[in-house]
Amino acid sequence: MSKLPLVLRELHRSETSLGRTLLAVADRHHVEHEVFHLARDLARRPREHVRRLADVGHDHGLTLDPEPRWTVPDRVAAVLRRGGDALGRRPEPGLLLLADLRRLHRKAAGVSLDWELLAQAAQGMKQPRLLELARSCHPETLRIMQWSNAHLKVMSPQIIAS
């Protein structure tokens, strides 16, 4: 029996987790303006991917939530932001930022591998719709990987040296 539904379900899970992580990182680093704005911009992609996965999941007998809960409740987010803002005037959160970017990068790498698995299976099983889905979504996952890597490189010398 095909394990394709398993792959789709795992992708849905990992994309959801990546989207949530992006939003949480944005909230935690509200005072790092570029991180805040970009992480929120980038979080649009996992959201879109999850919708498309839910849609395509029907063909494979899956019921995947197209709109899972993305954020922690507003009240918690506000606390996260206030915490980030208050700590943001001290040097230690720099290390927290590096750790968050590192985690984000690893998470995006996991999702990227999941898209590879889907693309390979779609080719092997002659599933053009799934192949097209992987082709259009995977570059956006790679973009998140590249950004988290690049930003880690840009930020780390000052944070570590100071």
């Binding site: 303006h33 570029e34 911009d41 980038l42 649009r44 943001g88 959160p93 973009r143 950004w147 840009v154």
Partner: protein, 655 residues
């Protein structure tokens, strides 16, 4: 290290690097003389570069005038000239430039107005661009930009039928949402139309001032000197050779730390000393309450070097009085690569000294050494510094090796770089043969992702562009980060007036200029004025999520839903003080956000609210010349006076 250029035209440099692999203005001001269509994207040239505008006016008044395409939410002189001459004025909602550009490119491609031969021979990336802009038909773009699909089609028709297209770009794009991505699409427009490197076919990614160009090519914006590539070890070694340094002494582990990030490092305490020379962040940077707090921080040692006691100098630990132009000798390079020499005419007053003298004195006192233990830098005055700079540009795109103070003194109208043995009289326009500075081993930059700004690595660049072509980069439109809301239903943009420069440190001291625009004002449209019950000259409160200020309202031709504030006005010549509800600097209201590619702050995308406070006495203190022209009657025209008249005698007794 960073320059005021970061706030001003960093996006020009970024856009050129993305498309051509290297900074450097492709076109020339002389392209104005030959173009049959001039397209100005967010470029109110009549007020920001009035001399260039005079050149355009000459064409408009002459035979066979060019048609203008103007993209600006304000009713500028350029917009008026565009409409009057059979061109098109588009006034999109601020923050939607990229959607508009994608829409225009959609029409150009869909109607077959593409120069396939040029694209095939000289560019990479057309397939991706075509695929991207398919998603931006005029109807969809019209909804995003809140203009009509007919207007988009009309503008595309003018651009698509141009035979010699000159495109120019400035702050309306550079200081707005998705700045670099939008400016890059202007490059794409000229490339897909094959309009580059011939008379009248050019791109002018504009600068605000000549020193912006020098900031970029010398590396005062943190980039490598001479358009070298920080991620290319051979380039860094070459520069180290010129300066007789160990390559490790030249920081090149990542792209330069930009001004906005520096402020963040001061804020969290990891930068302890800041040296501000010839600029005024306490008025010019976004979210001033935050900037003042940062510059006043206990742990910060702030040095300010300026010709006047600016708002930033008020916060300094040490103030170094500097000489101004005319009191020192040095070179300027303008937006079309023309290098000028400006000789010293008079001595600076009192203890004021040229910036170069101050920096060299500092270097000597600090005991900076090159790798052989000799004093670094090796130069000791303006001319020896210029010669060292020229030597270090050998073989680079901005080749100055054919230039010297003597040659520039003998050529008062300037010389356009590259100027070397091969081009002894300089070079009018770049890329005339469809060859670019973009070869992987030669390029200044391997480019960045247009959405995230993440630098591309050299290996990927080599695959993308092995043969030194121009790169067509596409990007999707994303909504602005601070869209209008019920509480703040309008969009605030800040900008310039003809009569003032930057934070008025100079122009505010010229009586005629000061009289023409004596005080801050706020502009809104007639429709919004009616809706809000505002009359010309009423006192209003302008509020954003950062704060509020009061100003008199000018009812102007600006598009509905948009509010304009001039950013020039600070506090040095007013009794107003900050934090009392009586502030007047536009940047009290702007958001801290920057373009991820160019790192230029966004001054033109904030949500705002206008509230009537009361009636003023008479009209707003805004000039009637330029985009602030009132829509109603009864406002006295802005005019010069007798005091502004000058008689200049040249030669032997000629009048």
């Amino acid at each position: 290290m960073d320059g005021n250029t970061r706030l001003c035209t960093a996006t020009a440099a970024a856009a050129l690097k993305e498309t051509f692999g290297c900074d450097g203005q492709p076109g020339s001001y002389t392209d104005v003389d030959d173009a049959d269509v001039i397209a100005l994207f967010g470029h109110n040239v009549a007020e920001t570069q009035p001399v260039l505008w005079m050149r355009i006016l000459d064409r408009l008044a002459g035979q066979d005038p060019p048609r203008l395409v103007c993209v600006d939410p304000r009713d500028t002189e350029v917009a008026r000239a565009a409409r009057a001459g059979g061109g098109v004025h588009l006034a999109p909602l601020p923050g939607t430039n990229l959607a508009l550009m994608n829409g225009l490119l959609h029409e150009i491609i869909a109607n077959g107005w593409v120069d396939r031969d040029y694209v095939g021979a000289h560019t990479v990336g057309f397939a991706e661009l075509e695929q991207r802009v398919v998603d931006y038909p005029p109807e969809k773009v019209a909804r995003i930009c809140r203009i009509t699909p007919q207007e988009i089609r009309a503008a595309a028709r003018v651009l698509g039928h141009a035979e010699r297209l000159l495109s120019t770009v400035l702050q309306g794009f550079y200081q707005s949402h998705q700045a670099s991505a939008a400016a890059v699409q202007v490059n794409n427009l000229n490339l897909v139309r094959g309009m580059l490197g011939r008379p009248g076919c050019g791109i002018l990614q504009m600068n605000g001032q000549p020193t912006a160009e020098n900031t970029r090519e010398c590396g005062a914006d943190g980039d490598m000197s001479g358009f070298r590539n920080w991620s290319n070890d051979a380039h860094v070694a070459d520069l180290a050779g010129h300066w007789n340094l160990d390559p490790l002494q030249i920081p090149h582990m990542s792209p330069p730390t930009h001004a906005m990030q520096m402020m963040r490092y001061v804020e969290n305490g990891s930068i302890g000393m800041l040296w501000v020379s010839a600029t005024n962040p306490a008025v010019s940077m976004p979210e001033l309450a935050r900037i003042r707090k940062i510059l006043s921080r206990d742990g910060l040692f702030l040095v300010v070097q300026d010709i006047f006691r600016s708002e930033t100098a008020e916060l300094a630990d040490v103030v170094l009085p500097a000489a101004t132009w005319g009191e020192k000798t040095g070179c300027f390079t303008n937006a079309d690569r023309t290098v000028h020499l400006s000789d010293k005419a008079v001595d600076p007053p009192g203890g004021a000294r040229p910036d170069l003298d101050i920096f060299l004195d500092f270097a000597r006192r600090m005991g900076f050494r090159d790798k052989d233990g000799a004093p670094f830098p090796q130069w000791h005055d303006a001319e020896s510094a210029f010669d060292a700079w020229a030597a270090s540009t050998a073989g680079r795109p901005c080749d100055y090796t054919g230039l010297s103070h003597a040659k520039l003194r003998a050529t008062p109208s300037g010389v356009q770089w590259p100027c070397n043995v091969e081009h002894p009289d300089g070079t009018e326009r770049l890329y005339t043969d469809g060859r670019f500075f973009s070869a992987p081993d030669y390029c200044e930059s391997c480019g960045r992702d247009l959405v995230t700004g993440a630098p591309l690595d050299a290996t990927r660049y080599r695959v993308l562009n092995p043969d030194a072509k121009a790169i067509l980069k596409a990007a999707e439109y994303l909504p602005p980060h601070e869209p209008p809301t019920a509480e703040h239903p309008m969009v605030l943009i800040t900008g310039r007036t003809l009569y003032h420069f930057h934070t008025r440190t100079k122009t505010g001291r010229v009586p005629e200029l000061q009289k023409a625009a004596p005080e801050v004002w706020v502009e809104c449209s007639a429709g919004d004025a009616r809706r809000l019950g505002l009359a010309e000259g009423d006192v209003v409160e302008v509020a954003t999520p950062r704060g509020a200020l009061r100003a008199r309202v000018r009812v102007s031709g600006i598009r509905e839903g948009v509010v304009f504030l001039p950013f020039h006005y600070g506090y040095w010549d007013t009794s107003m003080s900050t934090g009392t509800g009586a502030s007047r600097a536009a940047n009290e209201l702007t958001i801290t956000d920057w373009d991820p590619v160019s790192k230029q702050p966004l001054f033109k995308t904030a949500a705002a609210r206008l509230t009537r406070i009361g009636s003023g006495q008479g009209p707003a203190p805004a000039p009637t010349v330029g985009a602030s022209r009132p829509v109603g009657d009864g406002v006295a025209a802005t005019r010069g006076g007798r005091g502004a008249r000058v008689q200049e005698l040249t030669g032997a007794g000629e009048a």
